[in-house]
Amino acid sequence: MRKLVVTLAASAALLSIAAAPARAQEEKLPSPGWSFDGPFGTFDPAARQRGFQVYKEVCSACHSMNLLHYRDLEDIGFNEDQVKAIAAGVQVQDGPNDNGDMFQRPGRPYDAFKPPFANDQAARASNNGALPPDLSLIVKAREDGDDYVYGILTGFSDPPAGFKLMDGMNYNKYFPGHQIAMPQPLTADRVTYADGTKATLEQEAHDVVTFLAWAAEPKMEMRKRVGTKVLIFLLGLSGLLYAVKRKVWRDVH
């Protein structure tokens, strides 16, 4: 029994190092703590909506969100009419019409979020050859993605003495290699929040990360809710089955 515990502990220790291969990172990421951390964490609804406002007014100029559809916004607190209005606020391409031409029309809830550029090449052409990544999964596509994106957004500064910054690049504390093509996107009061919250840089970064975490996994809250019920059920079932096992085995022991 003791051997089992020792082996499990050793394997857990080794596996946890093995399962999360180290990323070359000199600076430790900030970890401000998130409402959605932990087995019972949820998305702070107000922060998430504010984060959508930040995405819409700042990030969507360069970053696509191809995996979200306007109808998904009903998840974050907008009703059907508000969603229709948000969708109708953009023009999307449709067609061909009966003449064989493509045309523009107002967006509808079932459309995907309109990308800022028609394709990757157009995106690179507008950004000095750099491709702004799609943000639908960014929080899951990076190690400690929530802290990482927060770090990037708040980590712009002047380069330290002696650091050679290439043309067109910007110094960032947390980006691997410290040189990022994106200029600092968020500053204090870059957006005026609809709910009146003070828009400091940290607040904007915190809110947009909350929104992006939801965008990466809209079903997270349901997953944790169902999971709690499943595990409680299984604990009960295990207890019952253990009692049955002991009863059946009583005369063999």
């Binding site: 399962a19 639908s136 990466a216 996994e217 499943v230 096992k245 059946v248 005369d251 063999v252």
Partner: protein
């Protein structure tokens, strides 16, 4: 008692009608019912075979439901998986069950294998049973490898590229084989399509080999922690209800751990890079296979020569096939082999160390560690086990399973054990 209750069952006219035409019920009764005798001293280490079977079932069912929505085309695959995660009812659950199920299938199988290594379950007369097990492990590895390619993320693509490129090490025909495997000049849509077809097929081949595996097991029955043969009915108990109940309990506990990960840490075993769509023009900074391949990956990389590395990697599994002959000890169970016991646990640590090395880039200390661990791995099988068998002095074996247990006793002599002989 069992036979009288099952006797009532067998008197039922409907049951008799079916039995006369296809004896399914008596078949089940004799293979895992109240008429299949099993050693009475099996420990919880014996649960992992049925747990592996449960995981195989879960993988097939969740896989089929994923297949209802997955698109095996390079342009559509990544987005189809995200559609499953977002738009399909409970799609996120199917995906996380399948993704983590692979890890837990390997956890169950690896523990099952190590149980076999410790208790000498591979020894006479269970050599063919052991070979079938190795076959299942190889099929699982092929299935898992191809399955990981299907989401078409960065790790899917680059992992496939690295591993298929290994075959170019084969002299003369290597490059032709790789082109044939790819169906083109790089990993691309044709590769994805054929991996999907084979990934769907192989699990059913695994089911077939599992049937043979259980058939082979039932010829001589299970090994047991003492490693000595059962001498008669007094050493055995009916599989049902004793082991059906114990397996059910074990399954519930295993499900708690497994579903704990599915619901609360579903990406723990995965790599964030696979949430980026495959890009043939950009390699991720470190290419890491899934954790269950890490030890073999370490062995592969520890040898500087490409072909030798490939041979060493495959040999590390194929060597298991001759284990029944490499281990020369007449004693089966590690419980009575005090020196072997120590080296068994060193071997376990060695395997974990290999995994650890496989997870890190082959630089600095990791190279040395990986090579030492690789050498030890082969030393353990090729030199240590044969020598141990000849020179080790084992502890005295009990004469039978039913005799009063040596130390740490459970049942006193003469306990009213409800054994098979009272039928």
């Amino acid at each position: 008692m069992a036979s009288s209750s099952s006797g009532k069952f067998f008197q039922n006219p409907v049951v008799k009608w079916i039995e006369y035409r296809l004896p399914v019920f008596s078949f089940i009764d004799h293979s895992l019912g109240s008429n299949y005798p099993a050693p009475k001293n099996l420990s919880y280490w014996w649960n992992f075979g049925s747990l592996a079977g449960a995981m195989l079932t879960i993988m097939i069912v969740s896989g089929i439901f994923l297949a209802m929505n997955y698109q095996p085309n390079a342009a559509l695959a990544f987005d189809s998986v995200e559609r499953i995660m977002r738009d399909v009812d409970y799609g996120w659950l199917m995906r996380y069950v399948h993704m983590n199920g692979a890890s837990f299938f390997f956890i169950a199988v690896y523990i099952h294998v190590f149980r076999g290594l410790y208790y000498g379950s591979y020894k006479y007369p269970r050599e063919v049973l052991w070979w079938l097990g190795v076959a299942i492990l190889l099929l699982m590895m092929a299935t898992a490898f191809m399955g990981y390619v299907l989401p078409w993320g960065q790790m899917s693509f680059w992992g496939a590229t690295v591993i298929t490129n290994l075959f170019s090490a084969i002299p003369l025909v290597g490059d032709t084989i790789v082109t044939w495997l790819w169906g083109g000049f790089a990993v691309a849509n044709p590769t994805l399509n054929r991996f999907y077809a084979l990934h769907y097929l192989l699990p059913f081949v695994i089911v077939g080999v599992v049937v043979l595996h259980i058939w082979a097991l039932h010829i001589h029955g299970s090994n047991n922690p003492l490693g000595i043969d059962t001498k008669g009915p007094q050493d055995k108990i009916p599989f049902h209800p004793y082991y059906t109940v114990k397996d059910a309990f074990g399954l519930a506990v295993f499900m708690i751990v497994y579903l704990g990960f599915v619901f609360f840490a579903p990406n723990f075993f995965g790599d964030p890079n696979n949430y980026i769509q495959a890009n043939p023009l950009q390699t991720p900074p470190d290419i890491v296979p899934e954790w269950y391949f890490l030890p073999y990956y370490a062995i592969l990389r520890s040898i500087p020569n490409k072909l030798a590395g490939v041979i060493a990697m495959f040999s590390s599994i194929l060597i298991l096939l001759i284990l029944p002959w490499l281990d020369t000890s007449r004693v089966r169970s590690g419980r009575f082999r005090p020196v072997f016991r120590v080296f068994f646990w060193i071997f376990v640590l060695d395997a974990l160390l290999l995994g650890f090395c496989g997870a890190h880039p082959p630089e600095g200390w990791y190279i040395v560690l990986g090579r030492v661990a690789t050498i030890w791995y082969f030393f353990h099988f090729i030199l240590l086990l044969p020598l141990l068998g000849w020179f080790e002095r084992p502890l005295p074996l009990p004469t039978s399973i039913s005799e009063p247990v040596l130390g740490g006793g459970r049942a006193p002599a003469g306990a009213a054990a409800r054994s098979m002989e009272k039928r």
